[in-house]
């Protein structure tokens, strides 16, 4: 009764084209934003930031990026971990080479570098499709991780082979390095997430996004109606890699602080982000958030239940985690291939008609 469009008349084109056409959605969105920006930073604890909120925000960016490529443009990529590593290492090199420039600019530049690398590895997508492409993106994954491991220039010849973020400030507040506050790391990730999510939302419903979707649905048909597959695929690779690169840069500089490439950006990371968009929903920005939240929170919950309540050893809980994630992936693909986002959509459809479904 409350959740409805009736009486919600639109008199301008702007109103017609807005992201949240229903009033309740719009208000809900503003309330969530307000809580995230104005309330959470004052109550955030180190544990909450490190275990849940910061990884959630960063994975959400990566998941949006992969969703653009896989969900909107239909090109399955298993190279996410490698591209995140590009973002992280680009950010590191920039941070150490130009210490006076703001970290925000470095992170954005790291995204651009990743976009360039993404386009390079996206070139084969013009010739190969489907699994062949998915496997080809693994080439990026393995090659990039190897490169960052073996070429000392990337980690500034440090003895351990690790990269660690020096302290940098934004508006006088430290956001990277060892002496950061939980709220500062949270806020910088939040700002990036909000801006990038808005950008993605508007890109995907504009002409660029419609071209991507045309390619996804049937590339030959798209070509016939005048979509340039070269441009569409490469822009998808570029934009997607930009997001993933920014996520990688944040993951390294703000979240972890120190990174060993094989461990952090290995193939497991690629699968994790892929799982996020499967569970969340392919081709949906909301889905990227839902999936990221789900897969960030799930291990934490399992750990609390398994280790803290039942007192099981941690390796057992980790194995259960694998079983549950695997089973969930299969269950989602069987019962709801469009993921949590589709469940949300169905719920909204039901709500619109409630309580008079006929």
């Amino acid at each position: 009764m409350i959740y409805r469009e009736a009486g919600d008349f639109k008199t301008t084109y702007a109103a017609d084209a807005q992201t949240f056409p229903i009033k309740l959605d719009r208000w809900g969105y503003f309330v969530i934003l307000a809580v995230a920006v104005l309330v959470v930073p004052f109550f955030i604890t180190d544990y909450m930031a490190n275990a849940i909120l910061v990884p959630f925000l960063i994975y959400a960016i990566a998941a949006i990026g992969l969703n653009i490529l896989t969900g909107y443009c239909g090109q399955v990529s298993l190279g996410t971990g490698g591209f995140m590593a590009v973002g992280a290492y680009a950010c590191y090199k920039l941070m150490t080479s130009f210490p006076d420039v703001s970290i925000v600019i470095h992170i954005l530049l790291a995204g651009l570098v990743t976009a360039a690398v993404g386009v390079l590895f996206g070139l084969p997508s013009l010739r190969i499709k489907g699994f062949y492409l998915a496997v080809a993106t693994l080439a990026a994954q393995f090659f990039l991780v190897w490169l960052f491991n073996k070429v000392p220039w990337f980690y500034n010849y440090s003895a351990s082979g690790q990269i660690s973020a020096p302290e940098r400030t934004v508006l006088g507040v430290a956001v990277t390095g060892p002496s950061t506050d939980a709220w500062a790391t949270y806020m910088i990730c939040l700002v990036f997430t909000i801006v990038l999510a808005l950008m993605a939302r508007n890109l995907t419903r504009g002409s660029v996004g419609r071209r991507w979707m045309a390619i996804r649905d049937m590339d030959i048909a798209a070509e016939i109606i005048g979509v340039n597959p070269l441009k569409a695929k490469l822009t998808a690779f570029a934009v997607s890699s930009f997001y993933i690169g920014v996520a990688g840069a944040l993951f390294f500089s703000v979240y972890l602080g120190a990174v060993e490439v094989g461990e952090v950006f290995g193939i497991q990371k690629s699968f994790l982000v892929l799982f996020m968009i499967i569970i969340g929903g392919l081709g949906s920005i909301f889905g990227a958030f839902a999936g990221a939240a789900f897969l960030v929170v799930l291990p934490v919950v399992l750990k609390v239940i398994g280790s803290d309540w039942l007192g099981w050893p941690t390796d057992l809980v980790a194995h259960f985690n694998l079983v549950i994630v695997g089973a969930l992936i299969m269950a989602f693909l069987i019962f709801e291939p469009h993921g949590l986002a589709q469940l949300w959509r169905l719920l909204k459809e039901k709500l619109r008609l409630w309580p008079f479904p006929h």
Binding site: F143, F275, V325
Partner: protein
Amino acid sequence: MPDQLLFAMEVTLNGLMAGVLYSLVALGFVLIFKASGIFNYAQGVMALFAALTLVGIMEGQVPFAHLINSVFGTDIHHFGWHVPALAAIVLTMVLMIAFAWAVNRFVLRHLVNQEPIILFMATIGLAYFLEGVGDLMWGSDIKTLNVGLPQGLNETIDRVTYEAFGYGFFIDNLDIVATVIAVVLVAGLVLFSQYTKQGRALRAVADDHQAALSVGISLNYIWVLTWSIAGFVALVAGIMWGAKSGVQFSLSLIALKALPVLMLGGFTSIPGAIVGGLIIGVGEKLFEFLIGVHIGGATENWFAYVLALLFLVFRPQGLFGEKIIERV
């Protein structure tokens, strides 16, 4: 002959042997792909699971011992008996067939007519699931697998090559056994698919699902059959790799080794899997030997992929794959 050339020959031979093992894993992929159009990412984990189960049965481990101990506070781990290798292999095979049935019953049957990429992602989920189950059942510690295969330097080859070239080649006995087994396996599979009723049904399904259905072939039966055969191939691969480097998580990564083999050889071709495996095996060993050492080593991780990628740009269907014809 100059030393360098002799080394290169030895590396090539070892590469061929490694290539045979890659082919063995790739074979499992091709079988399932041909019969059901599913690209089974879980093949590597199946090999790991089969090897884990084999070791577990041979050693008389109690399944889920870790879990049971944690829940009930007991302290059990072994039944205290040892099962002979052959019996354990048969038991493992029974389990793999049960697994094949379960996968069809609970996963694939519900995904008929979905896009191939959805099926692919489902098998990634399956891989995670099976890996977790394997760890829960048998524990995640590194195990040694010994089913009585010969191992170590082959002295005959060492001696003969020493007499011929003045330099003894190092060839592992296990690699030779693996090669022989792989050849037998491939010959067996070819005979099976050419000359038996089931094999013919298998090829019919691979050719056209609907046509096969309409002449009365049961798709369910054929799929269980292919997954069982793939389970068998996984078991053989698991035994070979497990005997070579211990049964541990990294065993499942051989699936990642097999992927470029498939891309090179084409997903639908059994000879392709073999030739692709050999090319990749030799290629990566030679590349590591000639160039890899100068640029930091450990190039084996990515060389195969980059080779396959470059190759695909020029021939998207692989060496022996069916020509891709696209219709709107």
